[in-house]
């Protein structure tokens, strides 16, 4: 079996802004041809990590190695083979679809003929060819996301970085976008995607890194993550008068098989591999505290909920 060398190696990456550590000692590898997901809450450091990946920010500590070479050694080259899609559409609304692509094509130093060929090819790929002469401001939100994607692909990058590409899209458009991303990946482009949607991760990503508050929590394949989190069940409790803080404190004081308990709004959330047994004890504790049980719900957690719980625990 041939072991592939990583395309990108992130080693002990640290980045600070105004004395505040935004990324802290992050290390992971991205293999060639995969879709790599970076999951984290807003402000977790995903965007900073991705901008550092493309050389826009300079790391304070650590390094990013692309095909065995530090990206800082030839940043111009790195920029010419990396594509980047931001959370918001990074093109000019006053220009037409084609003009935007032509403009960015020129910025990447492509010949006019090649630009025109790529424009046609990409617009067809993102299904915007019919709208090529429309001003960017005149097309719909989904089309704008696809135009943004097309702009990021105009120079045919080796690595495409997508920063929350489906944010703000309706489910249908999301799925359309996912199909598009898969298609781009199938033509050999390595994709790094940041998202906070576990569904997106499940659909698209091979490997996933979860970061919170600038720290890397876990790295692995989606299957590995699911397997690990499938051991726990999730119990939701609603009580009256609802002294949730005291309930959480009390549950923590008992030596119960509860790896994680918290309260959120008007409910207490408990993760446990032994839901039935633990529920018996919980009811007992609630009686002692004179809390009346209004509602109870036991289920397997989704990846999304697992992620939230994981990041909250880290906090």
């Amino acid at each position: 079996m041939v072991v592939k060398a990583p395309l990108i190696e992130i080693k002990n990456l640290t980045k600070e802004f105004n004395g505040k550590q935004v990324l802290s000692n992050i290390s992971f590898n991205i293999m060639p041809g995969q879709i790599f997901g970076i999951i984290g809450q807003s402000g977790a450091g995903k965007t900073t990590l991705m901008r550092t990946l493309v050389g826009f920010y300079k790391a304070d500590k650590g390094s990013i190695i692309f095909r065995g070479k530090n990206i800082r050694d030839d940043i111009k080259y790195i920029r010419s083979i990396f594509g980047f899609c931001t959370q918001e559409n990074a093109f000019y609304e006053e220009l037409t679809v084609m003009e935007n692509m032509r403009y960015f094509g020129r910025l990447y130093g492509l010949q006019n003929k090649l630009i025109e060929e790529r424009i046609e090819e990409l617009l067809k790929l993102v299904e915007l060819f019919e709208h090529r002469n429309k001003l960017a401001t005149e097309i719909s939100g989904g089309m704008k996301r696809r135009l943004d994607l097309a702009c990021a692909l105009i120079h045919r990058p080796h690595v495409l970085i997508l920063d929350e590409p489906t944010t703000g899209l309706d489910p249908l458009l999301k799925k359309h976008m996912w199909t598009l991303i898969k298609r781009i990946n199938q033509i050999g482009t390595t994709i790094v995607i940041s998202t906070h949607l576990m569904e997106e991760v499940e659909v698209l990503c091979n490997d996933v890194a979860i970061i919170s508050n600038g720290k890397l929590l876990v790295v692995g394949t989606t299957d590995q993550l699911k397997n690990w989190y499938s051991r726990n069940e999730e119990i939701h409790l609603e009580t009256y008068p609802g002294r949730y803080q005291q309930i959480v404190k009390a549950l923590k004081s008992y030596n119960l098989p509860i790896p994680y308990v918290t309260h959120e709004g008007h409910k207490v959330i408990i993760y446990t591999p032994y839901a039935e047994r633990v529920l018996h004890y919980i009811i007992h504790v609630l009686e002692e505290m004179n809390e009346r049980l209004l509602d109870v719900d036991v289920n397997k957690p989704s990846l999304n909920e697992v992620f939230e719980a994981l990041t909250k625990r880290q906090r």
């Binding site: 010419s80 000019y92 020129r106």
Partner: protein, 643 residues
């Protein structure tokens, strides 16, 4: 280059597709120049109304008001002074003139002005002041004529006084000259004598010695003469005895000769054939020797010896006679000598006595002379001192006279000059004529450079800052920055966009100014375009810097307007820089707006090259480089702040 063109194309498309932007860019300057051209394309004041109040109407006031009216200024008369002043406050009039009852130096004409309308006030005041000045001049002219005639009389009197002073000065100079001569003569007069040469002591000693010598001489003479006398007596006696002896001997020899002659004759020695006449003894002797008469020869020789002896004896006798005569003569000489010696001795002795007496007199006279000379020297020095003082006083007097004369001449000259001046030149001492350096210019021509700089400044600052801010606000900005394109491309692309728009606007302004308002600009278009390159670049980079420095579009626009207003207010467009405080004026002089206006004024009003002001061009270039460098720095800084 391809990338710069892409940025340029993108910028223009964005600007043009924003209809309001396009309208502002192209129609803005058109409206601006049209409005300003219509407003300022004249050279006078129109619709100016001034109020006036006079307690008493007289001809002077009427004349003055009529002359003001002749300048196209409306005059509104008020019965009450306060109402007239209030009319300025209310804005009904631009200025109020209050005339006193009597117009003269002590009663002033009052102007009530509203300085908040600074430019207008000064323009109106300028015209009215000129008219008031004219009237004032006419009144002053008569007074001045009278004054000038009196000045003429004074000048004549002063001139005659000056001539008298000249005479006094000449006399004093002559006196001084004489004094100088006397002093010089006194200096030359030497009163010193060498009395050492008048020392009689030596003479007295010599006199004594002489007396002694005379006595000694007399004694030796007497002794010598007596001795010589004696010797002469002895010699004379000897001579006498010797002569007797000689005579005896001569007789003997003569006798001998007679005897020999007899022998000779006896022997017939005489050869009768031989002519003895004219023959000397030697010849005769040789004849005798040659003959056989040896004895005869011998006798002849003896006879000859005897003749010689006789001749010798005769000679000796003769000499003795001579010696006797000499002795007699010597004796006589001795007698004369003795007599002379006595005479000399006597005379010398009496001479020495007399000499001694005279020496006594000389000593007395020398002593007296010495005393007199000392007294004389003392008097001479005193006299010289007195003369020196007099001379000094005369010199001082001369200087005073000269000064007095100079002053008098100066006064006379001044008075003559004054008398030659016309009353008009006193009333209006400064003859002025305003010659504009550039003829046939309207007000618009003069304000055009400032106006153009103002337009360029506001447009450049706001346009470039807006371009930068729009770019920064656009999410595409991030995509630009992660492309393999240098910062220079974006900055230079934005700069080119702005400068092209500035040039377009300038050409619109110039075209409308030239075609419709007769502002002569096309012949100097090259100078204008070069100047605009520097001016436009400066304000574009300033705008870009503002754009990169501030975060929001609103604050950027406010900052652009604020900075532009500061630059505008600290220029001569509102208040002259020279009227500002020294420190502020110093700063204002390096204000980019002021520098830009100076360069454009050089080109547009004086029609010169902008490079005639190399320092200003260098300063503008310095600003451009500094602002461009700061723009680069802030772009890099901005990257870190992008969300």
């Amino acid at each position: 280059m391809k990338k710069i063109l892409a940025v340029l194309e993108k910028n223009f498309k964005r600007l043009v597709r924003s209809k309001v932007s396009a309208l502002v860019i192209f129609l803005g300057p058109f409206f601006l120049i049209t409005i300003i051209g219509l407003a300022f394309n004249s050279s006078g004041l129109n619709n100016v109304v001034i109020g006036a109040h006079a307690k008493v109407n007289n001809t002077n006031i009427e004349t003055l008001l009529n002359s003001i009216r002749s300048q196209d200024i409306n005059v509104r008369m008020y019965d009450d002074g306060q109402r007239c002043i209030n009319s300025v406050v209310d804005g009904d009039t631009n200025l109020c003139i209050l005339f006193p009852e009597k117009i003269d130096a002590s009663n002033k004409i009052q102007f009530h002005v509203d300085y908040s309308r600074l430019n207008l006030v000064f323009a109106v005041l300028k015209i009215i002041s000129a008219e008031v000045q004219n009237q004032s001049s006419k009144i002053g002219e008569d007074l001045t004529k009278d004054l000038l005639s009196k000045v003429k009389i004074t000048a004549v009197t002063m001139k005659s006084s000056s001539d008298v002073l000249d005479n006094m000065r000449r006399n004093a100079n002559a006196l001084g000259y004489q004094l100088t001569n006397i002093t010089q003569q006194l200096d030359k007069m030497s009163l010193s004598m060498d009395f050492s040469k008048m020392n009689t002591t030596e003479l007295r000693n010599q006199s004594k010695e002489g007396n002694k010598g005379v006595k000694s001489f007399k004694a030796s003479m007497d002794s010598g003469i007596a001795k010589n006398k004696k010797q002469l007596e002895s010699l004379d006696a000897n001579l006498k005895s010797d002569r007797v002896l000689l005579a005896d001997k001569k007789d003997v020899i003569m006798e001998l000769k007679r005897n020999v002659s007899i022998v000779y004759n006896n022997l017939s020695c005489v050869d009768k054939t031989y002519i003895f006449a004219n023959r000397n003894a030697s010849q005769i002797l040789d004849r005798l020797k040659q003959s056989d008469k040896k004895d005869c020869a011998l006798l002849f020789s003896v006879m000859k010896v005897i003749d010689d002896n006789i001749n010798d004896l005769n000679d000796i006798d003769k000499q003795m006679v001579d010696a006797q005569a000499m002795i007699t003569s010597a004796r006589q000489d001795l007698l004369d000598m003795e007599r002379q010696s006595r005479l000399v001795t006597n005379q010398t002795t009496s001479g020495i006595t007399e000499l001694n007496a005279q020496l006594d007199d000389v000593d007395k006279t020398v002593a007296d002379t010495k005393a007199r000379i000392a007294q004389l020297n003392k008097s001479k020095n005193a006299l010289k001192q007195q003369l020196g003082m007099i001379s000094g006083k005369l010199s001082t007097n001369d200087q005073s006279f000269a000064e007095l004369k100079g002053n008098l001449d100066g006064i006379v000259k001044n008075l003559e000059n004054v008398s030659m001046i016309t009353p008009d030149s006193i009333i209006n001492p400064l003859a002025t004529e305003i010659k504009p350096l550039q003829k046939n210019k309207t007000k618009l021509s003069y304000i055009f450079p400032g106006l153009l700089v103002l337009v360029i400044m506001f447009v450049s600052v706001l346009l470039s800052s807006t371009l930068v801010m729009k770019e920064k606000a656009s999410k595409a900005f991030f995509r630009n920055l992660i492309s393999p394109t240098s910062d220079f491309t974006f900055i230079f692309g934005n700069y080119l966009t702005s400068i092209i728009i500035i040039y377009v606007q300038t050409i619109i302004l110039i075209a409308i100014g030239s075609l419709f308002f007769n502002v002569r600009l096309f012949p100097i278009i090259d100078g204008i375009l070069i100047s605009i390159f520097f001016i436009g670049s400066l304000f574009i980079f300033l705008g870009m810097l503002i754009g990169y420095m501030f975060k929001s579009e609103e604050t950027t626009t406010l900052a652009g307007i604020f900075i532009s207003c500061i630059l505008f207010l600290f220029s001569s467009m509102v208040v002259p820089i020279e009227s500002m405080q020294a420190a502020v004026a110093m700063i204002a002089k390096v204000n980019p707006f002021v520098l830009s206006e100076a360069v454009l004024r050089q080109v547009m009003i004086f029609e010169g090259s902008p490079f005639k002001l190399p320092l200003l061009i260098m300063m503008l270039s310095g600003y451009i480089i500094a602002l461009a460098a700061l723009s680069f720095y802030y772009l890099k800084f901005t990257k870190e702040k992008i969300d």
